[in-house]
Symmetry: C2
C-alpha cells in the first residue's frame, strides 16, 4: 500500500525540519497555509503540492480602506422598543458591536430602511420617522402608544467576520481587515485584477484555496464583544442597495428590508422560506457563481487548480444548488465535524475531488497540558469513517499550528494511523460504492436538495438545544448502506414521489421548514404522500412531523402515523395507551433504554392498531402503524448514538416492508457496521466503539460468520476468503 | 362550643343504631341519602334535617321508557376516515358504547348532521352523502381521495351517564335508567308534575337535594366500556334539534353540528370559545335556570328547602353565570377535592348556604383492608382548610356507605376531630373575613368570571397531565389572604382594568383559552395591559402566557415579562443567559430546589435587565422584570405545594411592589399560614404539614412572635393575648 498521498499538512514557518519529518510520517502530498500564516519558501520548494489560502474580498486592505463606500453590508434590526407616548426614539445601534458595524448613511434610508410596528406587522409610513445621524436615533413622530417598534437598517461591515472572530477568540492582533463588496463593478474588476496579479506573482502555488468567494455567512456581535447572532446558512450579510436594485432588474420587483430582516429571524433555515427569500437566494447564487467562475478561470489560466473552502465566505455557492456547477471549481475542502458534515462535502457534485479537514484543530483549546487531542482525533475519525465508507472525501488534512501537535507524540502517531487507514480505505474500494438496497431514503422538508446533509443545523456541526435530536437523523443516515436524497414539498407537488424512494423521513419542530408548517395543510402535497404510503410506502416522522393545528389534528398525518400530539385540546379524551409487549423487529438490537434525546412530550395514540413500542410517563416515544399496504414509524427524537443508528436502520427497513433484506451485508452488534464493495470484492467491518466487540457478519439471512473486532478497528475481508456459514 | 351542627351524614339503612351513634359523635344535624340509597323511615324521624336526593330527569323511568323520542341527546363525531377512493363508507358508531347511545333517526339528518372534509374544513354538500339505517353507515358518494372525513351526528342517551358510570365502576346492577329532556314541553310539564307529586308524598323531607337539574356534563364511553371523553364543563350532552330550533328563534341564527362538535374538541374549556358557543351557553343557561326556578318554587311551595348538587347534571346552572341568581336555590353542595374546588363552592353567590362533601367517599376503593382512609381524610381536610379560612363552606359532610367507614374506628375518630375543628373555625370567625391587603389579584383568561376557580381543569379536581402545573395557581390562591377575581380579555376590552387590581395572572398553554391565543394580538386588550403594567401594575405569567407566534415574538408580552420562548426561529441568537446570583425577595423562603411541575422548556431572556432567578439546563424557570413602574414575574409552572404557595405569594407581593406589606399577618415558615380575623379578634395559625413546625407569626414587619405547631394543627390566638414583640 502507498504510504503517501491524499493528505494535506498545515504548514508552519520556523520548524521546517519537523514539518519535513511530518510530511514523511503522515504521508502528506500537499501543504497549505492557513488564514493568518504564510508558507515558508523552503517548504514551498518541497516536492509536494502547495495550497495557498486566498481571501477574495479582503486580501487587498488598501483597497478596502480607500473604498469604504464599497464595503460589504449587513441588514440589522434594532431592539424591540415600546412606545410609551406618541414620540418614540430608537437607538438603532443599541446592543451591537460598534467595531463590527457602521450605519450606512450613503443610501436613501427611506428606500432601504424600514420602521416596523410589530403589533400590527406593518411598516410605518416613511414620512412618520426620521433618523438623526448625530445620536444614531430614529424618531417616530406619531407612534401608537404601547405598540412595539423596530428599525431595520443597513450597516457596513467594518470588520471582517472571520478575522474579528479570530481576534476576539484567539487573541489575534493583526490590523483590522474589512471586506469589500463585489457587487460594485469597480471593486469586482479590482478583485479579478488583484487575483490575476497575485497568480502571476505566486508561481510556486499549485492550488489556490479560496476562503472563499464573496460573502460571509451571518454573524453579528453584541456590545460586550460576544456573539449575538450566527447563521451558517445566513444571507443577511450579502446584501446592499446595489444588489437589491440589481435584483429588481432581474426579478421584476422590489425587495424591502423586511424581506431580509424577517421579523428579526433573518430567514433562518428553520423558517419556511418565503418566495421573496427564495428569489433572493436564486439571484445571489447566480451572481456569486458567475463571478466565482471568473476567479477560477483566472487560476486555470495560470495553470493552477482552484479549491473552495466550504465555510466562512461560502454564501451563494450552495454546492447542491442550481449554479454551483457553473463555477468550474476543481475541488472543495471543508471541516469534518461529524458524519453528516463529511457527507455534506463528499457528496458535492461537479468537482474533481473533495477534501476533509478533520478535528481537532491544532489550537490551544485542545492542545494544552491535560488536553487529550488523541481522543478527540480518534472519535472524530471514527464518527466520520462510517460516512467515508459510504462516500469518501478524496483527501484529508488537519488545520492549526503544527508546533502544538508536535508536543503530543501520541497524537502524531495516531494521525499516522488514521492517514494510513484512510488510504487503505481508498485502496480497497477503488472508487466503487458499497452495497445498498434498491430503495432510497428521502428526507423531506421545505428546503430539499439545496440543504442536503444540512437539515436542522444552526452553525455547521455545533451542538444546539432543540436540534440534536433531529440532526441525529442525518448523522445516523450518513454512515448507513442506503442511498439518501433530500426532497422538498415543492418537489412532491411538481414531480410526485419518484419510484425508487422506499421511505420518506420528516423530522423537525412544528412550524419549522424542517417539519413543514403550512405545507401540511396544502392538499396537493399531503394527498400525494398519503396515497403513496397507503400503496406501500414507508413514512418515518421524528419530533413533530406534519404538525399544523388544523381540523381536529395537530399532526396532519396522524392517520398515517397512528399518533398525534396533545396540544391541550384533547385532554378530555381518556387515554388508554399502553406500551406493546410484543417483540418488534425494530427493537431487536436494543438492549438498554432508548435515548430519544430531548424527545417530544404528550404524543398519544390515535390509531386503533398503532403499536406503541416505547413510552415514558404515558407519552409515546416510538410507535409503528400500518396504513394500507404502507407503514409509518414515529420517533420522538433520535440523537446520534450507535444504538440509534441501528434503531433508525431497522425502522427504515420495517417502514419499507423489507425486513428480510436487512440481512444483506449486516452485522448483528450495533456497535459494528459493515460495507461490502462487491465490485472490488472487499468487505469492511468496523467497530465504532472503544471496546472490543464480537459481532456476526451476515452476507444474507442465511450466511454469516462470527468475528471479533478490537476497539475502533476496521477489518477488511476478501469476498471468497470469508468464512460465511 | 357547640358539639353539633354544620354536618351532614350519609344515611344507610339496616344499621340504624350505628347511624344514631355517629349522628351524635360527628355532631350531624342533617342526614341524606345518596344516589342509589333510600333513607329508612326511622332515621327520617330523628330530629335532624333530612336531605333527599332528587334526580330531576330520571326519577320517573316509566316516563323515560314510554317517551323514548324525548330522551336527552349528545352530539357525537365519528372517527376520522380517510377516503381511498371516491366512495367512502363511515360506520358512524364505530368505537362508541352501544348501550350508551342510539343514533337519532327521528329528525332531519340533513339539517342536524354534518359530514366534514377535515382536509379543507368544509362541510360536504348534503346531497353528496346518505345514511343507511341498516348498517349505520354514512356513504359519501364523491369523496376526494385521501381526504379525511368525519360525520357529526345526534344520538339519544339511552343510559344515564352517572348511573352508567356507577354500573361500570362500582358494579351496580339496578335497571338501566335513561334521562329525559326538559326541552320537550310535554316532558317538562311532566317533570314539574312528578316533582310536585313527590313533594306531596314526602313530607318528611326537609331539603330536596337536586342532582341536579336537566343536563349532565359530557361523558362518552367507548366500545370497550371504558371512558372515552369526559368534560366536566361540557355542553355537548345538552343539545337536541328542538333546542337548536329554540336557539334560532331567540338568537336569530342557525347553529350547525360543527358548532357543537368543534373539530372533535367539543368546545373543551381549553378552546377559546367561539361566539356561537358563547351564545349557546347563554341560551342554555337561560333555559336551565328558568326551569330550575320552577322546581325550586315547587319545593318552597311545599315548605322544603332546595339544594343543588354542583356536579353530574349541573350543566347550564353556572353558579358564576348571569342567570344562576334567578333560580332562587337555597344552597349548593359540591365535592371538595382541593382548596380550589372548595372555593368554587364557597364563593357561589345568591345562596343561603353552601356545603362541601369531603373526601374520601366511603367506597371500597379506599375503605378496604390495607387502605388508609384516615390519611386521605386528613390530607383532604388540610388542603381544604386553607381555603376554608378564606371563605368557608357553611356546612360539611361525607358521602358513601357508613357501614364501610365503621370498619375503620380511627377514621371515625378523625372525622369527629375534623368536624369539631370545622365548627370551631365558624365559631371563631363568625362570618367575618380574614385580613387581606387592599389590592386584588385577577386571573386573566378567555373565560373570566364564569369559570371562577375552574381554570385549566378537565374533570373537576382530577389530576391531569398538562394542567397540574397551572391548576397549582388557583390551588395556591384558594388559601391565600388575598381577594381573587377572574377576569376575561373581553372584560378588559370593555371596562379596562379596575382600580383595585394589583396583580394580573395569566397561566396556560399556548393556544388555549387560559393563555388567550389570538387575544394577544388584539391591540385593544394588550395595549391596555402593557400600559397598566408600565404605570405600576404587576403581571405574573405562568407556562406560555400571552403566547401567539407573531412579528418576532412568541410571548406577545415578552417585553413586559423580559423572557420569550424558543420556537426554533431564534436558535441563531447566541444565549448568554445566566442565573442571577443576587438574593431575591421572591426566593427568601425557598430552601430546596423549586418544583416547577412539568415546567416549560426553552424559555430565554429577552430583556437586558431581566433577572433569571431559576434555570434548568439553560432554560428559564423563574424570572423577574421591571417594566416602567410595574413588574412582571415569569414562572414555567407552579404545581401546588406549600413551598409554591409561598413562592407565588411572594411573587404577587413583589409584582405589586408591596414587598414591605407582606409582613402584615404573615408566618415565616412556608409550611404554615395564618388568617387574622380582625373583627372577631381571632387569629388562626395553621400547620399544613404532617410534621411539627416552628414558625414566626408577624402582625406587621415590626411585630412578631415565635410559635410551635403540631402536625396539621390549627392554633387560635386572641388578639391582645398574643406575644408579639
Amino acid at each position: 500500500m502507498k504510504k503517501k498521498g491524499r493528505f494535506t499538512l498545515p504548514a508552519e514557518s520556523g520548524i521546517d525540519k519537523e514539518v519535513k519529518k511530518l510530511i514523511d510520517k503522515w504521508g502528506a502530498d500537499a501543504i497549505r497555509n492557513s488564514d493568518g500564516t504564510k508558507l515558508p519558501k523552503e517548504l514551498m520548494d518541497l516536492a509536494v503540492k502547495v495550497y495557498t489560502t486566498y481571501l477574495t474580498v479582503r486580501n487587498d486592505q488598501e483597497w478596502a480602506y480607500s473604498h469604504k463606500n464599497q464595503l460589504q453590508m449587513q441588514y440589522l434590526m434594532s431592539k424591540h422598543n415600546i412606545a410609551t407616548s406618541e414620540v418614540l426614539d430608537i437607538d438603532i445601534m443599541e446592543g451591537f458591536f460598534h467595531r463590527q458595524f457602521e450605519v450606512d448613511k450613503n443610501h436613501d434610508i427611506k428606500r432601504y430602511w424600514e420602521v416596523y410596528d410589530r403589533n400590527t406587522g406593518e411598516a410605518v409610513d416613511t414620512a412618520s420617522w426620521d433618523f438623526n445621524e448625530g445620536n444614531q436615533k430614529v424618531t417616530i413622530k406619531n407612534a401608537k402608544p404601547w405598540h412595539r417598534y423596530t428599525v431595520s437598517f443597513l450597516a457596513y461591515q467594518v470588520w471582517d467576520t472571520t478575522q474579528m472572530y479570530n481576534h476576539l477568540t484567539n487573541n489575534w492582533t493583526t490590523p483590522e481587515e474589512m471586506p469589500y463588496d463585489a457587487i460594485h463593478e469597480e471593486t469586482r474588476e479590482h478583485i479579478f485584477k488583484y487575483l490575476e496579479q497575485w497568480l502571476r506573482e505566486n508561481p510556486g502555488v499549485d492550488v489556490v484555496r479560496f476562503t472563499t468567494f464573496f460573502y460571509h455567512f451571518t454573524i453579528s456581535y453584541n456590545d460586550k464583544q460576544k456573539e449575538n447572532f450566527v447563521d451558517w446558512f445566513g444571507y443577511s450579510a450579502s446584501v446592499s442597495p446595489e444588489a437589491m436594485d440589481a435584483f429588481e432588474k432581474v426579478k421584476g420587483y422590489k425587495l424591502m428590508a423586511e424581506n431580509f430582516v424577517d421579523e428579526g429571524y433573518f430567514n433562518s433555515p428553520f423558517r419556511v422560506p418565503s418566495k421573496e427569500y427564495l428569489d433572493w437566494l436564486d439571484f445571489l447564487q447566480g451572481f456569486v457563481c458567475e463571478n466565482a467562475k471568473k476567479c477560477v478561470d483566472l487560476c486555470h489560466k495560470y495553470g493552477k487548480e482552484a479549491m473552495m473552502f466550504l465555510g466562512d465566505n461560502w454564501i451563494g455557492t450552495e454546492p447542491y444548488g442550481e449554479y454551483f456547477g457553473n463555477i468550474g471549481i476543481d475541488s472543495v475542502v471543508g471541516s469534518v465535524g461529524s458524519g453528516a458534515t463529511l457527507r455534506l462535502i463528499s457528496d458535492i457534485p461537479h468537482v474533481k475531488f473533495t477534501e476533509g479537514r478533520f478535528l481537532p484543530y491544532f489550537f490551544p483549546d485542545t492542545f494544552h497540558e491535560g488536553g487529550n487531542p488523541t481522543k478527540e482525533a480518534v472519535e472524530n475519525w471514527v464518527q466520520a469513517r462510517r460516512a467515508i465508507l459510504r462516500k469518501p472525501v478524496d483527501r484529508m488534512g488537519y488545520g492549526g499550528y503544527l508546533s502544538l501537535a508536535l508536543k503530543f507524540p501520541e497524537f502524531v502517531d495516531k494521525v499516522e494511523e488514521i492517514a494510513t487507514e484512510f488510504r487503505e480505505i481508498h485502496n480497497n474500494i477503488s472508487g466503487t460504492k458499497a452495497y445498498v438496497p434498491k430503495f432510497k431514503v428521502a428526507v423531506l422538508n421545505s428546503w430539499g436538495k439545496i440543504r442536503s446533509w444540512q437539515t436542522n443545523m444552526v452553525a455547521h456541526a455545533l451542538w444546539y438545544k432543540k436540534i440534536y435530536s433531529y440532526v441525529g437523523v442525518i448523522e445516523c443516515l450518513s454512515g448507513m448502506p442506503l442511498d439518501v436524497e433530500f426532497i422538498s414539498f415543492q418537489d412532491i407537488k411538481e414531480k410526485g414521489i419518484s419510484e425508487d424512494i422506499g421511505v420518506i423521513i420528516n423530522a423537525g419542530d412544528a412550524g419549522t421548514a424542517w417539519s413543514g408548517h403550512k405545507f401540511w395543510i396544502d392538499d396537493e402535497a399531503t394527498v400525494i404522500i398519503k396515497e403513496w404510503v397507503y400503496k406501500g410506502g414507508g413514512f418515518i416522522g421524528v419530533g413533530e412531523p406534519s404538525a399544523y393545528q388544523h381540523q381536529g389534528r395537530y399532526f396532519q398525518l396522524a392517520d398515517v402515523l397512528g399518533v398525534d400530539r396533545e396540544m391541550s385540546f384533547t385532554l378530555n379524551y381518556t387515554r388508554h395507551d399502553k406500551q406493546s409487549e410484543e417483540k418488534h423487529f425494530i427493537l431487536e438490537d436494543q438492549f438498554e433504554s432508548i435515548d430519544f434525546g430531548e424527545g417530544m412530550k404528550y404524543v398519544y395514540k390515535t390509531g386503533d392498531d398503532t403499536k406503541l413500542l416505547s413510552m415514558d410517563k404515558g407519552d409515546v416515544n416510538l410507535s409503528v402503524n400500518q396504513f394500507g399496504k404502507g407503514r409509518a414509524v414515529y420517533l420522538s427524537g433520535i440523537p446520534y448514538t450507535s444504538e440509534n443508528v441501528r434503531l433508525l436502520y431497522r425502522a427504515i427497513y420495517w417502514a419499507a416492508t423489507k425486513e428480510e433484506e436487512i440481512y444483506n451485508w449486516f452485522t448483528s452488534n450495533s456497535n459494528t457496521e459493515c460495507a461490502a464493495y462487491l465490485e472490488t470484492g472487499n468487505i469492511a467491518v468496523i467497530n465504532n466503539s472503544n471496546e472490543e466487540q464480537k459481532t456476526i457478519l451476515y452476507s444474507d439471512k442465511n450466511h454469516h460468520q462470527v468475528m471479533n473486532l478490537q476497539p475502533y478497528e476496521i477489518k477488511w475481508i476478501k469476498i471468497g476468503q470469508e468464512h460465511l456459514i
